[in-house]
Homo-oligomer: 142 residues x 2
Amino acid sequence: MTPAPIEDVADKLHTAAIHLLRRVRDVDAATGLNAARLSALSYLVFAGPATVGELARAEQVTPANISQLINGMQNDSLVERVEDPNDRRVTLVCPTKKGERIMREARTARVGLLTSMLSKLQGSELETLSQAAQLIEHTLRP
Amino acid sequence: MTPAPIEDVADKLHTAAIHLLRRVRDVDAATGLNAARLSALSYLVFAGPATVGELARAEQVTPANISQLINGMQNDSLVERVEDPNDRRVTLVCPTKKGERIMREARTARVGLLTSMLSKLQGSELETLSQAAQLIEHTLRP
DNA sequence: TTAATTTGTTTAAGTGCCTTAATTAATAAT
DNA sequence: ATTATTAATTAAGGCACTTAAACAAATTAA
């Protein structure tokens, strides 16, 4: 078999990722959170507490926006602000237990849906997907 | 090698997809469009013209929201409303040439970034990614 | 050690996304 | 014909998001 041009692989992979995430986010409605809050909370729960600035870069919005978004989420007990003793300019944003629970439940639901969709695949095909996921993570490392 | 539990594959795949899209969307800023418009326009360009209701389901927002979003995008000549002769209740939303151009340029930039990241991989690894993308698309089919 | 600069967050004011509820219009059903 | 259903829009209001400005803490320089 002649090797696939690298641009074609990139294109297919990009499209597949979009379609995959479009599908699994169907279950997000159950969380009661909107897209902005879900994405921010997801980052905080799975990448760990972050400063306002770091969150802003991750979400690709302004620090001002994050500051206000956190106000609302703090008001709903999803996150809390914690002072950083090392650098008192920054404020660390941490998920609360409630925020963590909601996010983990949402992730479980997403993965559950995806699991049911993958159930028709053979072992060798699952192995291909597993290796692909690993390759992607490795490739994205800076 | 003992086969990976299917839930683990689903979880790894889900996470990889998130990380991949988080990375490539870095180039979206160049479009001048915000997330809501980019996502809607992406659907219209790559899945074809859609009704307000279909777009609302795809974007997981209300028809009222789409109606207003389309107002703004129409105002910026990104999309246009077209009457459906078969059912005059519905309005088809179509990307304009400008909208199509912007979207395709954005996609090209994303895929270009991803291509550069995949350039360090071997042919066999690219083949694994290619097959994985194909498996995902096939698995997601309803 | 002050002073100036840089870095991180917040506040204020304004635009646009997004919601629910109500309205209008077209199709389908009886 | 009337009624019910489906599709889109409008109106009013809340929240996401922006830029510009203000503020506070840390770093650098004199």
